[in-house]
């Protein structure tokens, strides 16, 4: 057989690879002069940062806004970006915006905490009993698609104007996503980890607190995040419908008020505040929580 002249199509010819001499180096030579690592130029390193790229996009969008507003020249309908910034800063400095935001956040925290307590009750029922599981599944599938704000008229009817009604709709917006996520988190705890916990003789609350909750934490945190986003939107929407309780209005009311006064730059400033607070909670509070827990533990 002629080496290298095998017929390409012929599987019948049993080809054998050529036998070559063995190679064994006495010692592997040091890595020589080849460049192993080089620092990238500053520009390229900066562009690799997501924050820098996103700030750049923001700047472009702001410039487009400014340009379009100058072109339209109708501050009533479409104020300039710079005017919005000025309105935002003045209202921040004279304390109006922080005060309104504080009012909103107070109500929100109250509702959020109440929602989590309700979710904990539902999750406990769902994890421990089969009827509880069915109850949670049924209620979640019914109420999760229902926007919480749609319950506001009923809340007003039952509870009346005031913080109570706001808390009612916030609880509704938080409870289902938190309970559902926590429940699926508990269900997904691996059988091995469960057996490890029981192997140590852990039972009851000890078992839940030391094994199940940390193991389900990724789902619990993502439920809390979704619940936060829902409740924030719901509250702002509810405040737009009726914003004043006990003489103090929140951010939604701030937006509504300035709309009726046709001070559109302040309306935008209010929206900006809503966005910034939402972002801050998500990027600071939840990011911090995730970095300290699930990311650090490699569970995400």
């Amino acid at each position: 057989m002629n080496a290298g002249s095998a017929v390409v199509t012929g599987h019948e010819e049993r080809r054998i690879p050529p036998v070559r001499p063995e190679i064994e180096l006495p010692e592997v030579a040091p890595a020589g002069q080849a460049e192993i690592e080089r620092v990238l130029p500053l520009g390229e390193r900066l562009m690799n940062l997501a924050l820098v790229r996103r700030l750049l996009i923001l700047a472009v969008l702001a410039a487009a806004w400014e340009g379009y507003a100058i072109y339209v020249n109708n501050p009533l309908m479409f104020p300039r970006f710079s005017d919005v910034c000025i309105a935002f800063v003045t209202d921040c400095l004279d304390g109006t915006l922080p005060e309104r935001a504080w009012t909103t956040l107070n109500v929100l925290l109250l509702g959020y905490a109440a929602g989590i307590v309700c979710a904990a009750v539902f999750t406990t029922l769902a994890v421990t009993t089969r009827i509880g599981t069915d109850l949670l599944a049924l209620l979640t599938s019914m109420f999760n698609p229902l926007p919480a704000i749609a319950l506001l008229p009923l809340a007003l009817l039952w509870i009346g104007l005031g913080v109570g009604s706001l808390v009612f709709v916030i609880v509704h917006s938080v409870v289902w996503s938190v309970a559902l996520n926590a429940y699926s988190g508990f269900r997904a705890v691996s059988p091995t980890l469960r057996m490890v916990g029981r192997n140590y003789g852990l039972t009851g609350a000890n078992y839940v607190v030391r094994i199940l909750i940390p193991a389900a934490l990724p789902s619990i945190v993502s439920g809390l995040k979704v619940g936060w986003a829902f409740s924030w939107r719901t509250l702002i929407a509810a405040e737009l419908v009726f914003g004043v309780s006990a003489g103090k209005g929140g951010l939604g009311w701030y937006i509504f008020e300035y709309k009726t006064q046709l001070m559109t730059d302040h309306v935008f400033a209010g929206l900006l505040a809503v966005i910034i607070i939402g972002l801050l909670i998500d990027a600071v509070v939840f990011r911090f929580l995730e970095e300290r827990t699930v990311q650090r533990w490699g569970m995400q």
Binding site: M195, V196, R198, N199, Y200, L202, R210, W297, G298, M299
Partner: protein
């Protein structure tokens, strides 16, 4: 058997059944054996012989349908830290705890050791499995072999009556597995703990076991109880090793069967 000392762990006519969504499966039928102090007792059999189910039942996760397991004469009814389990799965470490905290966790939650003593034991056993440097690392940063070492250290630090190992090396690559087998034997040589080891590899059973319980599949019944206390890694390839290997192979797969079990 003429043995003056009473067995540490006794299985008497144990039948194990578990339910799946569709049916009631009999995993083992009328299995009896005795494990003595410092035994390296191996449960060997092909998949489906119920060897893991036996281990889980000894751990207290599954009540026997008939017969009973006794540990030091007391009937096993529920899980407990006197029988520490090492699983095959790498996710048996608590991911939210560091290596050292993982080893400390059972010692502290069971109140078996006070903190200073537990810390000392954790260091000692992490040292024994060569993981002292990784004390502060989180499990997700470790390789599979290292995770299994932590699990072994965690179980041994508890000083259980019996160590239950459910194919702990089955998910490791061949080189790491071989190293871990040697390390386990070294540890045993030093500490003389009692271990019940489940495997489906005849070679691993001969290497690690001092006594091998051979089980037949569907449902698991005892086929033989063999001695292998003289054979270690150095004996792989010797006539005695090959003979025992072939003997077990024939028991499991019949005379005509060729090839090897993994």
């Amino acid at each position: 058997m003429t043995n003056a000392e009473p067995p540490l762990l006794d299985a008497r006519g144990v039948t194990l059944r578990y339910k799946t969504a569709e049916s009631l499966v009999t995993a083992t039928e009328n299995v009896s054996f005795s494990v003595f102090q410092a035994d390296r007792f191996v449960l060997l059999g092909p998949s489906g012989c119920g060897k893991s189910t036996i281990l889980k039942s000894i751990a207290g996760f599954l009540e026997p349908a008939a017969g009973e397991f006794t540990l030091k004469g007391r009937r096993i009814t529920e899980p407990g830290p006197d029988r520490m389990m090492v699983f095959q799965e790498f996710d048996q470490l608590l991911p939210w705890k560091t290596v050292e905290e993982n080893v400390l966790f059972p010692m502290l939650t069971t109140r078996r050791f006070r903190r200073p003593e537990a810390v000392e034991r954790a260091r000692l056993f992490l040292d024994k499995v060569n993981l002292s440097k990784f004390r502060g690392a989180f499990p997700h940063t470790l390789s599979g072999g290292m995770k299994q070492r932590v699990a072994i250290a965690r179980a041994m630090a508890m000083a259980p009556e019996v160590l239950l190992m459910d194919e702990p090396f089955a998910s490791l690559d061949a080189l790491t597995r071989r190293k871990m087998q040697d390390e386990l034997l070294e540890l045993w040589d030093e500490l003389r703990f009692t271990v019940l080891f489940v495997t489906h590899s005849i070679e691993e059973a001969i290497l690690l076991g001092s006594r091998i319980l051979v089980l037949t599949p569907h449902p698991g019944r005892v086929r033989a109880e063999l001695n292998a206390h003289t054979l270690v890694h150095e004996d792989v390839g010797t006539a005695a090793f090959r003979d025992l290997n072939r003997r077990i192979h024939t028991m499991l797969f019949g005379e005509g069967a060729v090839g090897r079990v993994a």
